[in-house]
């Protein structure tokens, strides 16, 4: 029996060397370790082994079995490694330069920019309010102190409707409602679509977006307005902006200002974008007219506040590089889809 085991071992040693692939190895495993394999075959004779030798033979058999199992496992690992390596080396080279198919739509550039600006205001504790597009004459004009005979009320400038209402000419039309809603402690912005009866060209639309904000509280002053506008513009443009106030005139504010920002293109030195002045007229603003506060039930002796406008469409054009405002309402998908979805 001992001899047989020695023979099996030498047979295994030579067969093992010939195992070139995993299939052959499996055959070898079955040949030696399988149910009908040589080891089992030899073990059939174990009963006949004299008792005193059984221990020795048993140990020999186990040793041989362990050796074969180890060798096969070793070989298997070696062959698998080789196979993996071959598979890797022969792999198809994937062309990742092929165009990606992301299948994504797009948001309107106004949506993208307004959201970005709104977020700045929200971070400063503002509520974002909404208004109507079809307004009463009262809300659009009277409530914000536009005199009865003001030219803005003419049909040449305002879209009047056959029920006596108007397409709102400015976001200020929402002021009265918002001031009534929040009372004398109010920080709100309200973007919205506005309408003016004018001819279209690259810089003029009859349907455009404005964004307006108001801040009302006790003892709000011109100096506060100046501070606020600087901070706000820092948020909107993500950098420090130099500003200056100039006298302006709007019916809904007193005093009224034009706020200029130092020209972003030349840094204030003067260039063609700013007409050489170094300043760009950016937002109309002012201290809310006492009549506007009074019309909303707020005591203008006790409370004061300021309002400011941001030409939303101008901001969109400034930030996106669009040079013709008419694109915004064109519904031209091949243009609009380029703006993507980043909010």
């Amino acid at each position: 029996m001992k001899d047989k085991l020695i023979k099996i071992e030498s047979e295994f040693d030579s067969a093992y060397k010939e195992a070139k692939d995993l299939n052959l190895l499996e055959e070898i495993r079955l040949k030696f370790l399988g149910k009908k394999g040589s080891l089992n075959y030899v073990m059939a004779d174990f009963k006949q082994v004299p008792n005193e030798m059984k221990k020795e033979i048993g140990q020999l058999v186990n040793k041989l079995k362990n050796k074969i199992e180890e060798k096969i496992a070793e070989k298997k690992q070696e062959l698998e490694d080789k196979q993996n390596e071959a598979e890797i080396n022969n792999a198809k080279k994937i062309d990742l330069t092929l165009p990606a198919k992301t299948n994504v739509g797009s948001l309107h550039p106004r949506t993208l920019i307004l959201k970005e600006v709104e977020d700045v205001f929200v971070s400063m504790g503002f509520v974002v309010e909404d208004g109507f597009e079809i307004e009463t004459e009262y809300n659009n004009f009277d409530a914000v102190n536009v005199p009865a005979n003001h030219p803005a009320r003419d049909m040449q400038d305002t879209f009047w409707l056959d029920n006596g209402q108007v397409l709102k000419t400015h976001t200020s039309a929402a002021q009265n409602r918002i001031l009534k809603k929040y009372g004398p402690h109010c920080k709100a912005i309200f973007p919205g679509r506005c309408f003016r009866n004018e001819s279209l060209d690259a810089g003029h639309e009859n349907t455009f977006f404005q964004m307006e904000g108001i801040v009302v509280d006790e003892n709000v002053s011109v100096s506060n307005l100046l501070y606020f506008m600087k901070e706000m513009l820092k948020g909107v443009f993500k950098k420090d902006i130099n500003v200056r106030l100039r006298p302006g005139f709007f019916p809904f504010t007193e005093p009224s200002f034009e706020l200029d920002a130092s020209c972003a293109f030349c840094g204030g030195k003067g260039c063609s974008s700013c007409g050489g002045s170094g300043w760009i007229e950016l937002c109309p603003c002012g201290m809310i007219h006492p009549n506007v506060l009074r019309n909303a039930g707020i005591d203008p002796d006790k409370y004061s506040g300021f309002a400011f406008g941001l030409g939303a469409d101008r901001l969109v054009m400034l930030k996106t590089g669009l040079n013709d405002i008419r694109h915004l309402n064109s519904g031209n998908v091949s243009l609009l889809k380029q703006f993507g979805i980043k909010l």
């Binding site: 797009s106 409707l161 011109v222 979805i341």
Partner: protein, 792 residues
């Protein structure tokens, strides 16, 4: 408007003040400067010269060869002007000099050498005459530089008119002189005028005013006026300020207008002896000075002579027949005030905006009519000492503005500005601007001057502005705001708008568009889309776009059709916008905010498109609104929606919108193969919907069993029918079920089957075979009873 600095200097000493000072301070304290032009910088070495000899040019009929004495030398100059004559004194640009930026060099004209150029007024920019060279009629030393005699060097400041809208007092030089005196803290000289009280006793011109739109009408007449040419200084100032000089009388009225802001008119006194100011009637016409006939709109203000002939459209334009010419020696000067609305309305209606109408639109101070006449007569008699004033100051002053007194405290002003000022500082600032102030303690009683009291200043906040701007906004320091810290609750609807848009764009591959609030009536008609607008624009200039839309979908159909080609037949667009589907009981528009989406394609079926669109609505409502929507087949009220495949979108039984296929009646007019689907949701209603979010179920510790059962149904049966039947399952084992697939077989067109997968779980124990079989049999029986047998 253009302001000449030389002119201002007549009223206020501005020595030592630079162009930069003006640019900075006036911009920040008064009005926007568009441009400051250095006049005279482009005129060099132009001197007085006398023509000694005029010879014909051998080669040219038009040209002459002149010998011109320019003081230290006599130059040969070839000149093309028709008015050359011997002994005439003119202006000569010498070689090396410059005329309006053009350098003068020696030249050969038709073969003859020329050393200089004789100039016309127009070439020098000092007058409008371009018919010939300047003929100097005053005494000068030959060879003197014209700049030494004439005020050619000047700064002309161009002010943006729109920043003067509320400042009628700044539409003339004297008003700006007052501002400059306040800004630069220099004294303002009084205006030199003729004392009109001297004229008392002379005959009064008969003036009758029968319209409230004329606030004041003043007039004075003169005769024996012989001067026809304006003095050089007047011509230069008019031209620098953008007006042409015409003749002395016309120039004089314009000069007063530019100086004081008060428009003036000169009538030929032979033709106009009395004045009647009336409201125009239908059909009234006027032939203007330029020879254009204008129909005067009804209820305009019309100036008539004593015989009811219209002689001017008040505040806008004078008539030709009564106008002055160079021969006129007898004149009636008008100085009047009209309401701004009356002038603006007429001016817009006839499309004629003039220097006068622009000023009247700003609400001029009626006090100014008298000052203007007194100033005009002063200048007239200064330059034409033969002129005789033939009437007293004749005046019809029907409307006086209220005198405005404002009480304000220095404390109020300080709080509003954010800078501390005391009563004396306020007083000093206001008085420089022409206000008068009485101080008692920290309180001031401020009297507003008439020229600021027509609409500009009436309340204490107006005084805040005056003080603030005179402190110079440029010198303000920014002061932080102090606020309570309170949580801010944002509007849910507004947030949902962004979510709805973002979901559509990021997951459903759709593009957001913006459109107009009106229907495209022509497009709709062409494509058989019927809308039911209830509101229209009054202005019908653009008739095809004057109906306010009752739905967003027709516009999106238009956009989808327009983008079809560029988007390779697959367009997915959406908009959240407003429309007006009805008028409320109080007559106001019922404005609604709608979310509308249109998917169109020629490559896939209507069903695929519609299912995808429905998926979006469910996705949005389940994941962002926490609401479960139902879809119920409903015959649409819109003709452009499909009669069979349109569904009401409902929440808790209330309709909040619709979804469906766009009727082929419409889509085929765009493209025979085009399939279109649309949905339109009332966004405000959607944002209000809310079921409580689903409760979280804790997963069972025991393994679930999944059973697939396939039930046979009629083709017309819906998933909802199957769900209704399955809702009768009472077994506590059921965790849930889902539809795996719908099988349709062309061989059995009336039948289909739905494969459901049921999940059952013992919850507190492992399921045993009998339980599973029991559940399965119950479901099969239940479905069979409902008419949906198990597929064998």
């Amino acid at each position: 408007m253009k302001i000449s600095l030389n002119w201002l200097k007549e009223f206020v000493d501005l020595d030592g003040i630079t162009k930069e000072d003006i640019d900075k301070k006036v911009n920040q304290m008064c009005a926007e400067i568009e441009n400051i032009e250095e006049k005279g910088a482009d005129i060099k070495n132009v001197v007085y010269g006398k023509i000694l000899e005029v010879k014909n040019h051998p080669e040219s009929q038009k040209l002459h060869i002149l010998k011109v004495d320019v003081g230290e030398e006599v130059l040969q100059i070839v000149c093309g002007a028709p008015n050359v004559k011997e002994n005439m004194v003119t202006m000569v640009a010498k070689v090396g000099g410059m005329v309006c930026g053009k350098k003068i060099g020696p030249a050969k004209l038709a073969g003859v050498e020329s050393f200089g150029m004789c100039c016309s007024e127009s070439e020098l920019g000092i007058g409008s005459d371009d018919s010939g060279i300047v003929e100097v009629k005053y005494d000068v030393k030959l060879g003197t530089d014209i700049k030494k005699v004439l005020p050619i060097d000047d700064l002309v400041i161009e002010i943006d008119n729109k920043t003067l809208t509320n400042r009628p007092d700044l539409w003339g030089h004297y008003g700006f002189a007052r501002e400059f005196s306040a800004i630069f803290k220099r004294p303002l000289n009084p205006l030199e005028t003729l004392d009109l009280s001297k004229l008392e006793g002379l005959e009064r011109i008969k003036i009758k005013v029968s319209t409230p739109a004329c606030l004041r009408y003043s007039a004075i007449s003169c005769n024996n006026i012989t001067k026809t040419q304006s003095p050089e200084i007047m011509k230069i100032r008019l031209n620098y300020c953008g007006m042409r000089d015409i003749n002395f009388l016309a120039d004089l009225t314009n000069y007063i207008m530019l100086e004081l802001g008060q428009p003036m008119h000169a009538f030929d006194n032979e033709k106009v002896k009395e004045i009647e100011v009336v409201s125009s009637k239908k059909g009234d016409k006027l032939l203007t000075l330029e020879g254009e006939e204008h129909e005067v709109p009804e209820n305009s203000v019309l100036i008539c002579d004593g015989n009811k002939n219209s002689v001017a459209i008040a505040g806008i334009k004078g008539g030709l027949m009564s106008g002055i010419t160079e021969k006129t020696s007898s004149v009636l000067f008008e100085s009047a005030t009209f309401t701004s609305e009356a002038i603006r309305k007429t001016s817009r209606a006839i499309g004629l905006i003039t220097d006068a109408s622009l000023r009247y639109e700003k609400s001029l101070d009626p006090e100014l009519t008298k000052t203007a006449l007194a100033r005009l007569l002063y200048i007239l008699t200064y330059y034409d000492d033969g002129a005789v004033i033939t009437s007293s100051f004749s005046d019809c002053y029907n409307y006086h503005y209220d005198k405005i007194k404002i009480n304000v405290s220095a404390d109020f002003i300080s709080r509003r500005i954010g800078i501390d000022v005391n009563a004396n500082e306020v007083k000093e600032i206001l008085e420089r601007l022409g206000f008068s102030c009485n101080i008692s303690g920290e309180n001031l009683e401020v009297l507003v001057p008439s020229f600021r009291a027509t609409k500009d200043i009436s309340i204490k906040e107006d005084l805040v502005e005056e003080v603030a701007r005179m402190l110079n906004y440029g010198a303000f320091t920014a002061k932080p705001l102090a606020f309570n810290v309170e949580p801010v609750v944002q509007d849910k609807e507004h947030t949902l708008e962004y979510q709805a848009k973002f979901l559509l764009a990021s997951k459903y591959n759709a593009n957001e568009v913006h459109s107009y609030i009106w229907d495209y009536t022509d497009f709709n008609a062409e494509h058989k889309i019927e809308t039911k607008p209830v509101l229209h624009l009054m202005d019908t200039r653009n008739a095809g776009q004057s109906a306010i839309r009752d739905s967003l979908v027709p516009t999106l159909i238009k956009f989808a059709s327009e983008n079809k080609e560029s988007e390779e037949n697959s367009v997915r667009i959406f908009e959240i916008g407003r429309c007006v589907p009805s008028i409320k009981e109080d007559g106001l528009a019922n404005e609604e905010k709608h979310l509308a989406v249109v998917f169109s394609s020629s490559d896939c079926s209507e069903e695929e498109l519609l299912v995808d669109l429905k998926n979006y609505l469910v996705d949005l409502s389940e994941n962002y609104v926490y609401a479960t929507l139902n879809f119920e087949r409903e015959e649409p009220s819109q003709n452009y929606m499909h009669k069979v495949n349109t569904f009401a979108v409902k929440f808790n039984g209330e309709k909040i919108g619709y979804i469906g296929v766009i009727s082929p009646i419409v889509s085929k007019t765009i493209d025979k193969k085009l399939k279109m689907v649309a949905t339109e949701i009332n966004f405000k209603e959607l944002a209000k919907c809310r079921n409580y979010p689903k409760k979280v179920k804790v997963p069972s510790l025991y393994q679930s069993t999944h059973l697939d059962l396939n039930f046979v149904m009629n083709t017309s049966d819906t998933y909802a029918d199957a769900v209704k039947a399955l809702s009768k399952i009472r077994s506590k084992l059921l965790v849930g079920y889902k539809l795996v697939e719908v099988f349709e077989n062309p061989l059995t067109p009336n039948k289909k089957s739905m494969l459901f997968r049921f999940e059952i779980n013992g919850k507190d124990h492992s399921l045993v075979g009998e339980e599973i079989d029991g559940f399965m049999n119950d479901v099969i029986n239940l479905m069979e009873k409902a008419g949906y047998p198990l597929k064998k």
